[in-house]
Amino acid sequence: MIRRAVRFVDTRTATTPIVRKTLRYLFPDHWSFLLGEVALYAFLVLVATGIYLTFFFVDSTRDVVYHGPYVPLQGQHMSEAYRSVLNISTTVKAGLLIRQTHHWAANVFTAAIILHLFRVFFTGAYRKPRGLIYAIGVTMLMVTLLEAYVGYSLVDDLLSGMGLVIGYSVGLSLPLVGGNLMSWLFHGPFPGQASFWPRMYVAHVFLFPVLIGSLLTVHLLLVAMRHHTQFRQTTSESEHAARGVPTFPGQAPRSLGLLFGTAGILFLLGGLVQINPIWLWGPYHTYLSTNGAQPDWYLGWLIGGLRLVPSIDVTIGHYTLVPNPFWGGAAFPLVVFGFLYCWPAIERKFTGDYAFHNLLERPRDNPMRTAVGIGMVTWVLLVFIAGSSDRVYVWLNVSYTSQIDVYRVLVFVIPLLAAAIAHRVCEELVAGEKVDEDGHRAEAEARLART
């Protein structure tokens, strides 16, 4: 039976050698390598639930009056898009489950990518010969943030509308070209023409997903061609030999377990834990907004950036060179992503290490890299926390304005401090290990001498 199947495939495709190689590909046996896999499986859930949602979503901002089953909104004017999402959440069977699972999957997808990035960064997995794999990964993170933001915006509830106009304003703030670019994209000033919504829709359900899917394919192919990196083994230095569990039979059930586990948890979350209850927000109109609004967490760093910038537009006479939102909304993420893209080259330049590396370093093995990474993470995290100052004000009644004043200083001081501490901790850890090692060796020698 198995023989017949294998023969069937081989005689028609001549791929048996490739299949055999694939089945015996070696996966390093360490949990941190599963983070990227979780992202992949969350992406599969996103595509599956997303396809289902497209059957019910209407990509139109045409004004309609709501007559559905949700009483508080009955008789209200809203866009057809928002009404269709209300319907998905109320009248379409299993619609709410799929919608909430889609949203949860988006959160898990981004979180998994970011954790995967941390693993890759702090262990030096991006070094030669895997620079391209890393750059593609960073690009995927960027596209993912855009994709998630556009998906959030498509719903056209009050919060998503506020998010969209902020995005528009950040686009508008790009020096020299912002006004023209947004006028082009939205077909005139915000909220633009009716043609804008289908544009956003196509981007969300076709352009960005296809882009992510293609990048993902190349990312995985390149990983397979170059093989996974691995941690140093205690028994042998393994810069030239990959050690691991083959795809089949060892790795396959593990990966399937992870796939089904990720999907299972996402559907449990989608069914049991409410997320983005859009019927509570109400429809968006440009003249409406609500207090205490926060974006999804993966954009929290940007709202923090926007809120921290002091009240300045850079002007030359009557010409506004840099409108304010540029700093927090565009320059800040550009610096962060610019850093991510350039770091491997910067590191090579400073350390003079142009060698091939298949072996990973532990964070402590490279104190400088760890310090820089911790500094960057702290910086972004602090801006993120600053973005939630209004919540802190509500919970703890600490004055919002003084919080912001303090953060304006802290975001430049604390990251340096954190980097210095991280550097020191790494050195101490390595020194401690050396002491331990010397101790063990001395003991062993003593034992040897006694006998």
Binding site: G188, R254, T401
Partner: protein, 333 residues
């Protein structure tokens, strides 16, 4: 005789050999051999049947409308079904299959021979071309221009070079101010310590979405009002009107901090809830806190003989989030 003997011998051989089959010749095992684990097998089977049961439960819940908490039940059924399969797979991985740790050489850093071959291949393929630089120029020109041609239709998206649309607002001299249900505001409707949203009279619902349409109205005590000289006379008996759209990132300004106990409380403030840009309505909308880089555009007001509020002209500055042209032009009707 010999036939009989042959018959007897062969019969014995057949009888004794019955059931004792020679094991079929087997190739050497690829995987190491491990003993079975019936316990783990039972658990995996139980998990797989549980998964099937939960999946069936999902279908039942889906079909039966009368069940309460539909979403929760659906999610639990599907989620648990998937998790059962996940658990089964993990037990399979840990207990029922061989997990070998193998070692394999990494691919070589480079393939110099192959590289050389490709270099030669490309170089030699162009042997017959004599005007190389011109050739490259031609290819570049064709490719580049074709690329531009392919991009050109994207200009149909919207007016890339036409920025006049940013400058228009629906406000005209004499336009009455109406509320959300299109009822005109009288000056007497506007009370202190409260906050009103107004639109130009006669605009459609769609036109109210334009950033130039919505304004906020507050009435301030004369003692507080200190408009800068260039905005003198923009208020109507202490009623001031500003664009409702924040000059920072375009959100609607929907919070008003009215000073209830003068002079202990801070000055009145219009606050945008997105990034907490704070504007002083008594001071011509100047920025007192937050990221906004310029003050709120003000709409001059008058009160007609019947007591209705009317615009006395257009905003004094461009409405909406700031871009490169903001300070160059004034709003035009």
């Amino acid at each position: 005789m010999s036939r009989a003997r042959a018959f007897v011998v062969s019969s014995i051989v057949l009888l004794l050999g019955r059931g004792r089959r020679r094991p079929p010749r087997q190739a050497e095992r690829v995987l190491p051999e491990l003993p079975p684990d019936p316990g783990a097998e039972t658990v995996v089977l139980a998990l797989l049947f549980a998964a099937a049961l939960f999946a069936a439960g999902f279908i039942v819940v889906y079909a039966v409308d009368s069940l309460p908490d539909h979403t929760q039940l659906l999610g639990a059924a599907l989620g648990l079904s998937l998790l059962c399969i996940a658990a089964a797979m993990i037990i399979v991985a840990k207990r029922l299959i061989v997990t070998e740790e193998l070692v394999e050489p990494y691919p070589p850093e480079e393939h110099p021979g192959e590289q050389e071959l490709i270099v030669q291949l490309v170089a030699e393929s162009g042997d017959r071309i004599t005007r190389r630089r011109l050739f490259k120029l031609g290819l570049g020109a064709a490719g580049g221009t074709l690329g531009l041609a392919a991009l050109a239709p994207a200009l149909s998206f919207g007016p890339l070079f036409q920025t006049k649309y940013f400058r228009g607002t629906p406000w005209r001299k004499g336009t009455r101010l109406v509320d959300e249900s299109s009822r005109p505001y009288r000056a007497s409707d506007i009370e202190e310590n409260d906050f009103y949203t107004a639109f130009p009279e006669g605009t459609s619902l769609a036109a109210r979405e334009d950033l130039g349409a919505p304004i906020v109205l507050v009435r301030l005590p004369k003692s507080l009002l200190k408009l800068p000289p260039e905005l003198a006379g923009f208020d109507a008996e202490g009623i001031v009107a500003y664009s409702k759209i924040c000059t920072h990132a375009g959100c609607a300004i929907s919070t008003y901090r009215a000073p209830l106990f003068q002079p202990d409380e801070p000055r009145p403030a219009l606050v945008c809830p997105c990034h907490y840009s704070t504007f002083d309505p008594a001071d011509g909308g100047s920025v007192t806190f937050g990221p906004a880089g310029r003050r709120l555009p003000m709409l001059p007001l008058s009160i007609d003989s019947k007591g209705f509020l009317r615009a006395k002209g257009n905003f004094d500055d461009e409405v909406g989030p700031t871009w490169w042209g903001t300070r160059i032009w004034r709003p035009q009707p």
